[in-house]
């Protein structure tokens, strides 16, 4: 049963081949059996999941239908879940039980999804290897000595290992797309504002966006359908109609204009990945797409801009974790300053502390113009590059990452080396554009992803292309050994 995709589960539940309770029970045992190797879950909500499954079965028995009714899901542990620990992968929130549901959680529960638990992640979503979690590193099911990517590493590893068909993730600089690429999944970062951020614990508010991780584009379409939509509780949510993402999955790609940015194929890209990307382009050409080279001249500035803006926002977002109202509080504080210093010093890990310090520095009097303002100017240039490019092409294609998943610990001592791995993904966050990563082959037995970027609110176009591609390729169907 664990091999089923979300779409297959929807059909199975609909034609009563199995119940949600049976499915949930099977997946919970699989998690129990296999997750110790991976560490992809922080919390498994077994009892609640079974209750929800029975409730979903009852809803279906009373005549209710819906693709997500009774289907399993797990949430990245930064989506607040009422009554369940929401840790953000941090010691700071190890004792924090959320008193409310994030909008994404509430919408999917409303649709009848069964929450199996909360998935592991880089602490406060800061990282691209899932090694900064207070709950330990997550292993890549394709090779347990390698990282699964991050920060939604637990969400990716769990789906890749067939512990469940789909999970939610969040993407601030590539945190859905990069782990999807590293674990042979399809992952979608929607347009900024497409999915509500209410209840999604913020890392960098102007960049964070929730989205689906699944094995197929078809499944991503189903899950995104449940997550997307305007939310009055999030001022940055956009009141834009949500199309039926599944409706156009099979639309023809005849005449689709694909842009290949020359900057995406320069130095630093593993040539074997370059070859796999070119092979995927050939497949799309066979489906009728036309390809042209384009340029995104300001891409080289994206990483420095990102590593000013994201830490700046994070330094402020994480100020509320002060030991006063919730979260970790140090023992016997001497005074207020001691309470702040020790609670935060003990509660936050090294990478989080590093980014808080970088961000605080960037916003300080005398440095603000040189760093924060400059970074925002670069951000506008990057956005303009995309707008110019989308005047000529319908979609932009390139590698998701320059290298496949590295070995655990390989970049721990050199944070900048890890930052550079985000080079292809962070521009979409800076510009607020939707991006998708889909499986495109293997290098040394490790998965490789191809990234597609589209104009604002064209998630449907990305899903359509990925789905058509997945109809003529089988990369996405391959499972890691032992799972």
């Amino acid at each position: 049963m664990h091999q089923l995709t979300l779409a297959e589960i929807a059909r199975g539940l609909a034609d009563k081949s199995f119940s949600s309770e049976e499915l949930t029970g099977a997946l919970l045992s699989r998690i129990k059996q296999l997750d110790p190797q991976l560490n992809s879950f922080i919390t498994v909500t077994q009892a609640q999941a079974l209750d929800q499954a029975r409730a979903a079965d009852a809803r279906r028995a009373s005549g209710e239908t819906g693709a997500l009714l009774g289907a399993p899901i797990a949430h990245k542990d930064l989506f607040c879940t009422n009554g369940v620990r929401t840790s953000c992968g941090s010691k700071m929130l190890d004792s924090f039980t959320a008193p409310y549901d994030a909008t994404v959680v509430a919408k999917l529960a409303e649709a009848g999804m069964v929450t199996l638990g909360k998935t592991n992640m880089d602490e406060f979503a800061m990282g691209s290897a899932n090694e900064s979690s207070h709950y330990g590193a997550v292993k890549n099911p394709w090779n347990l000595e390698h990282v699964p990517g991050g920060s939604s590493g637990g969400s990716a590893a769990a789906v890749a290992a067939r512990l469940l068909p789909a999970t939610t993730g969040t993407d601030t600089g590539g945190s859905i797309r990069q782990p999807a690429a590293f674990t042979n999944l399809t992952g979608l970062k929607p347009t900024y504002g497409r999915v509500s951020r209410w209840g999604m614990i913020a890392y960098a508010s102007s960049l964070d966006q929730g989205g689906p991780l699944a094995r197929t584009a078809e499944d991503c379409a189903l899950l995104l359908q449940g997550m997307a939509g305007f939310d009055a509780k999030d001022s940055t949510s956009v009141d834009e109609p949500v199309p039926d993402f599944s409706a156009n999955l099979n639309a023809s790609l005849q005449g689709l204009r694909i842009g290949l940015p020359k900057e995406y194929f320069g130095a630093g890209l593993d040539p074997r990945i370059a070859d796999l990307v070119q092979a995927s382009v050939k497949e799309l050409e066979k489906l009728g797409a036309v390809v042209k080279e384009i340029s995104l001249p300001n891409m080289q500035h994206a990483i420095p801009a990102y590593y000013v803006i994201a830490p700046a926002e994070a330094s402020s977002n994480l100020s509320r974790f002060d030991g006063v109202r919730f979260g970790h509080r140090c023992e016997d504080p001497k005074d207020l300053t001691d309470l702040y210093k020790r609670s935060r010093g003990e509660g936050f890990g090294a990478e989080v502390q590093r980014r808080i310090m970088v961000g605080t520095y960037a916003l300080s009097a005398g440095y603000y113009d040189a760093y924060y303002v400059k970074a925002q100017q670069i951000r506008r240039l990057i956005k303009n590059d995309f707008m110019a490019a989308f005047a000529d092409v319908d979609v932009i294609l390139g590698p998701t990452t320059p290298n496949p998943a590295w070995k655990l610990g390989a970049k721990s001592s050199d944070p900048v080396a890890a930052y550079l791995e985000d080079v292809y993904t962070i521009t979409a966050n800076l510009a607020g554009l939707p991006g998708l990563s889909m499986p495109a082959g293997f290098v040394d037995g490790l998965p490789v992803g191809v990234q597609l970027l589209a104009p604002y609110f064209q998630e449907g176009r990305l899903l359509n292309i990925a789905h058509r591609y997945q109809q003529v390729t089988d990369w996405h169907t391959r499972a890691p050994n032992g799972f």
Binding site: C88, I201, S315, L318, S364
Partner: protein, 481 residues
């Protein structure tokens, strides 16, 4: 050395919205601690702010009322600092692009002149919670009911030159926000709080001296005292060869002195940056037109109308229009009593001193506008004299009912019956025969003085009820005759 004082004020006004600026919680004062604090007010992980449109509307009302430019695109920024009653570790405020730009306000000085005070800007922000240091065995309690209450911070130009001017300005702002109905103005509950920036410079010098900021003064009287004591401190300091250091100070009303709170060096670096959780606020011209159309009559227009419609002096019009409640009271009195100048005098003089004595505002006046207007009617129809009216007024203040019933029950009706007055005068003159003789023998100048004696005797004899005009006329005839 002649010193010139330079004062600029930052006034925080709590906007009278039903709910908080970024959450749906109520803003009622005095509720049980933390009962009006929602997930957003508590700064829970994952929560997001949503701007209350009503706060925007109120800020626009204020901006229009001071003839200011309203920022067509204004931006909320985060002001970052750590404090236990600041739940998010930052306050959402406005920095570079405030909602209200440069404007001005006219204040009436005591000598009757009008002075224009510049308003640099006014911006929206959220209030913090309260730290409670009592009753927790040495620990501190946090009450977040106030956290997220909308504030409009009104920053003046350094245009004031004395503590009295500063108070007049605060009173004018106080009156204006109450006129607009955007703040209840209750200073004791902290609805209107004031930071005073004070510096001195030798008279004639153009550049400013070093300023000190006195934080959080919350009554008109304390503002005046705090500023005056700070002025004196700075003068003494400089005249003793010292230097004023830029710092934040607190006023201690018990000792009537300011003391240092923190120096410029200790000041926080607030690391302001645009709040990524909130979109820029775009003020559409149509919205602004609707706000303008709904504005009530404001003090300047009211002052003008009081002069043209009622023939009042500029000073009287300014005093009466200084609060909406007082202006409304006055107009109600005029409506009933019919004589605007008489009404103005009674409201400003007798009612003013009564309220002063009782220490209450006009909306708690023991004499209603209806009662006062009713009494003026009796003055005008000669039922009572102005002098008797004071007795009636006191009785009304003591809760004895309206003017007519007091006049009736106390028998204060003025005697206008010529026959009765005639008889009373004859008796009085007979009792003072000697003085009558002296009067008739005296020259014109002396007679003038003596005449007053007879009037006094007559009023005394009538217990003040005789119509003074008739008494004068009849008495003159009798004495001359």
């Amino acid at each position: 050395m002649q010193w010139e004082v330079v004062i600029g004020l930052e006034i925080h006004t709590q906007l009278a919205t039903q709910s908080k600026i970024f959450s749906g919680s109520a803003t009622t004062f005095g509720s049980e601690p933390n009962t009006q604090a929602s997930l957003v007010d508590l700064g829970m992980p994952g929560v997001l702010p949503v701007l209350n449109q009503e706060a925007v509307r109120m800020a626009c009302m204020f901006g229009l009322a001071i003839d200011a430019e309203i920022g067509p695109r204004n931006v909320f920024a985060r002001k970052n600092y750590f404090y236990p009653d600041l739940p998010k570790g930052y306050q959402i405020s406005q920095m570079d692009l405030p909602i209200v730009g440069k404007g001005h306000l006219d204040i009436a000085l005591e000598d009757g002149t009008i002075k224009r005070i510049g308003v640099t800007r006014a911006h929206l922000e959220e209030d913090a919670g309260k730290s409670l240091h009592e009753d927790f065995n040495g620990a501190t309690g946090i009450d977040l009911n106030r956290a997220g209450t909308p504030l409009l911070e009104i920053v003046s130009e350094p245009d004031m030159r004395s503590a009295k001017e500063a108070v007049a300005y605060v009173k004018a702002i106080h009156a204006l926000v109450r006129y607009l109905g955007i703040c209840d103005g209750n200073m004791a509950e902290g609805s209107l709080r004031c930071d005073c920036n004070v510096s001195i410079r030798p008279k004639g010098q153009t550049e400013f001296g070093t300023r000190c900021e006195i934080k959080n003064v919350n009554s008109f009287r304390f503002i005046e005292r705090a500023i005056n004591s700070e002025i004196q401190r700075q003068i003494d300091l400089i005249e003793d060869g010292g230097k004023v250091v830029q710092e934040t100070r607190l006023y201690d009303p018990n000792k009537d002195e300011t003391r240092s709170m923190r120096s410029k060096e200790e000041a926080n670096d607030y690391r302001y940056f645009p709040d990524p959780d909130l979109l820029p606020v775009v003020i559409e011209p149509g919205f602004l037109d609707s706000v303008r159309a709904a504005l009530p009559e404001l003090p300047p227009q009211k002052v003008e109308r009081f002069q043209s419609q009622y023939g009042l002096s500029a000073y009287d019009a300014n005093v009466l229009a200084s609060s909406r409640e007082q202006a409304d009271y006055f107009e109600q009195v005029v409506k009933i009593g019919g004589d605007a100048k008489l009404a103005a005098n009674w409201v400003m003089v007798e009612l003013g001193s009564l309220l002063n004595k009782l220490g209450v505002e006009i909306d708690q006046s023991p004499v209603s506008a209806e009662y006062l207007g009713g009494m003026l009617l009796r003055i005008r129809d000669n039922t009572i004299s102005g002098k008797i009216a004071k007795t009636v007024f006191e009785a009304m203040a003591a809760g004895e009912g309206d003017a007519d019933s007091i006049i009736e029950s106390r028998g204060l009706k003025q005697v206008t019956d010529t026959g009765a007055i005639d008889k009373m005068l004859d008796e009085m003159l007979a009792a003072n025969a000697e003085q009558v003789e002296q009067y008739r023998a005296a020259d014109e100048a002396k007679r003038g003085k003596m005449f007053g004696f007879f009037v006094g005797q007559a009023m005394k004899a009538s217990k003040g009820k005789a119509n003074p005009g008739q008494v004068n006329q009849l008495l003159k005839a009798k004495l001359e005759g």
